[in-house]
């Protein structure tokens, strides 16, 4: 393997790590740590493995069939089921995009001291201009690399000297202390939903087509999905450990999006706070662009339009207007002043309900010889794919009742 290829893989991994954490991970990992300390770390492992399994499948489908997932959803499930999936995914994408924008605006407010409502349109404008101007690869990478500032959470977690034996016990599911069983289960569902958000697989598979992946990129797909997401999962561990070390003993309930940044500030002072806020802005800002693009990809692929950043915006005008419209609608939602933390919780929980509609077609297509030829799922991919599909079905049924009964994890 030559140096250029190694560099390309390393760059892909770095951007996957920096781009792993979004607003859902930030909220749920911090709240879970502040409520159950390290006891839910095992859920992050399950969630990260799930997104690895399905992202690898998506990337493989895109590289072999040269077609993104949503293009095949309709072909495989028909118009009615495809349209239902489209509507559900668009609602979830919009909610998620709005939550991410709220997160960007709050961090900008903490950095600048300017009014939150002024910073919402400013943040959206910067994101829209970035998405308009930057080529696809650089949207993914620029935000991913700057999102690596979140590694300050990992260093803070180590510097806080947690009892590592307790941390290790968190990786084994079992009895719990610190909250009711239902609240515990609510966080299990929320953490899985945050790790396996549907827009990630839509964006990943469309991105693979935008990047022109072919059979030669199957190795790159495996490495990016496995190492990138696995290392990204370490950021989730760090968020939970920091919250468990700092917020739980002080009975701080992180009901504010800026609260997680207090962890690095506690350990490293102002530099820590600055790195955490910059990391959150870019990780969450990148996710806002990804959600708006995922929404536009889905619409364009369902109706068969021209799509992609590789196209001139005017040539693929419906695709272009779609991602701009998602930003505009998300802006309106955030401007209502609705609490971004609540919005995030709703977006994650509703995305859990939509998960089966997203993941079943991927599993079906990845097993279809017509599209995949010799690259259909092997035994391991199918075992894990089916296992996760059952998990997804269970949490999809449980998500909304748990949210209502526990008042969004408040008990």
């Amino acid at each position: 393997m030559n140096l250029k290829k190694v560099l390309a893989i390393a760059l892909g991994i770095f951007s996957a790590i920096g781009g792993f954490v979004d607003i859902g991970d930030l909220v749920f990992n911090t709240q879970a740590g502040a409520t159950f300390r390290f006891q839910l770390l095992w859920v992050v492992v399950i969630g990260v493995l799930g997104i690895i399994v399905y992202s690898e499948m998506c990337g493989r489908v895109s590289a072999v069939a040269k077609r993104p997932v949503f293009d095949l959803v309709r072909e495989r499930t028909g118009f009615g089921a495809g349209l239902a999936t489209l509507v559900a995914s668009e609602v979830v994408n919009l909610m998620t995009c709005a939550a991410e924008i709220g997160g960007v605006a709050i961090c900008l407010q903490l950095l600048s001291g300017l009014p939150y409502r002024l910073l919402i349109p400013v943040g959206v404008l910067v994101l829209v201009v970035s998405a308009w101007v930057l080529p696809f690869r650089w949207i993914e990478r620029a935000f991913g690399y700057l999102g690596l500032c979140l590694l300050v959470f990992a260093v803070a977690a180590i510097k806080l000297h947690p009892a590592w034996s307790q941390v290790a016990r968190g990786f084994v599911p079992g009895s719990h202390t610190g909250g009711s069983l239902l609240v515990y289960l609510y966080f299990v569902v929320g953490l899985l939903g945050a790790a396996m958000t549907p827009y990630e697989v839509y964006f990943y598979s469309s991105g693979a087509v935008e990047d022109g992946w072919g059979l030669k990129d199957l190795g790159l797909n495996k490495v990016t999905a496995i190492i990138g997401y696995a290392l990204g999962g370490f950021l989730s561990f760090a968020l939970m450990i920091v919250a468990g070390m700092l917020f739980l003993p002080r009975s701080i309930s992180p009901q504010f999006l800026g609260t997680p940044a207090l962890g690095p500030e506690h350990v490293f002072g102002r530099v820590g706070l600055l790195l955490a806020l910059v990391g959150i802005i870019f990780a969450v800002g990148g996710a806002a662009i990804e959600t708006s693009f995922a929404g536009a990809y889905n619409l364009a692929q369902f109706f068969g339009w021209r799509w992609g950043k590789k196209e001139r915006p005017a040539a693929a005008s419906r695709f272009t207007l779609s991602w701009l419209a998602i930003f505009a609608l998300a802006l309106l939602v955030v401007m209502t002043g609705y609490d971004p933390v609540r919005l995030t919780e709703y977006s994650v929980i509703f995305s859990v309900v939509a998960l089966p509609l997203t993941y079943l077609p991927i599993l079906l297509v990845a097993n279809d010889y017509t599209y995949m030829g010799a690259h259909v799922n092997g035994k391991l991919a199918n075992f894990l794919g089916v296992f996760y599909f059952v998990v997804i079905l269970v949490i999809a049924v449980a998500a909304i009742p748990l949210m209502l009964i526990t008042h969004g994890g408040q008990g």
């Binding site: 069939a65 077609r67 293009d71 309709r74 072909e75 028909g78 118009f79 009615g80 495809g82 349209l83 239902a84 308009w132 101007v133 364009a300 369902f302 109706f303 068969g304 339009w305 021209r306 799509w307 001139r312 915006p313 005017a314 040539a315 693929a316 005008s317 419906r318 272009t320 207007l321 017509t370 599209y371």
Partner: protein
């Protein structure tokens, strides 16, 4: 390719991607017009794309059709090849399949860098 084989293939391409002669995506196979279903030589005569073509696609299709305007009819003889996508013999513009992007291109085209 005899007529009934042609119909079998056509039914198998419902919801598939349409690609024009220049390799550009230009819609999906939303419905098919089949002639001669009463006799022993049914024949696909047209592909229907967009709008009212969704009317025959279940409850959600009927709802979507109300918002979608009229369908574009593409004669079956315009089909060049059927693979994992349906390739057409002519550019989308000549078959009126680019009207959606054309309609909004003027608006988007006003933005610098478009």
């Amino acid at each position: 390719m005899n007529k009934s084989t042609e119909v079998d293939i056509a039914l198998g391409i419902l919801d598939h991607q349409l690609v024009d002669s220049e390799g550009t995506n230009c819609g999906k196979v939303d419905d098919l017009e089949i002639a001669g279903l009463d006799g022993d030589a049914p024949e696909v005569v047209e592909i229907l794309v967009g709008g009212s073509a969704w009317r025959s696609r279940g409850l959600l299709g009927r709802l979507a059709a109300r918002l979608g305007g009229s369908a574009v009819h593409v004669r079956w003889r315009e089909v060049e090849a059927v693979t994992s996508v349906v390739t057409l013999k002519r550019p989308a513009a000549e078959l009126r399949l680019n009207r959606g992007d054309d309609r909004w291109a003027r608006l988007v085209g006003k933005v610098p860098g478009s």
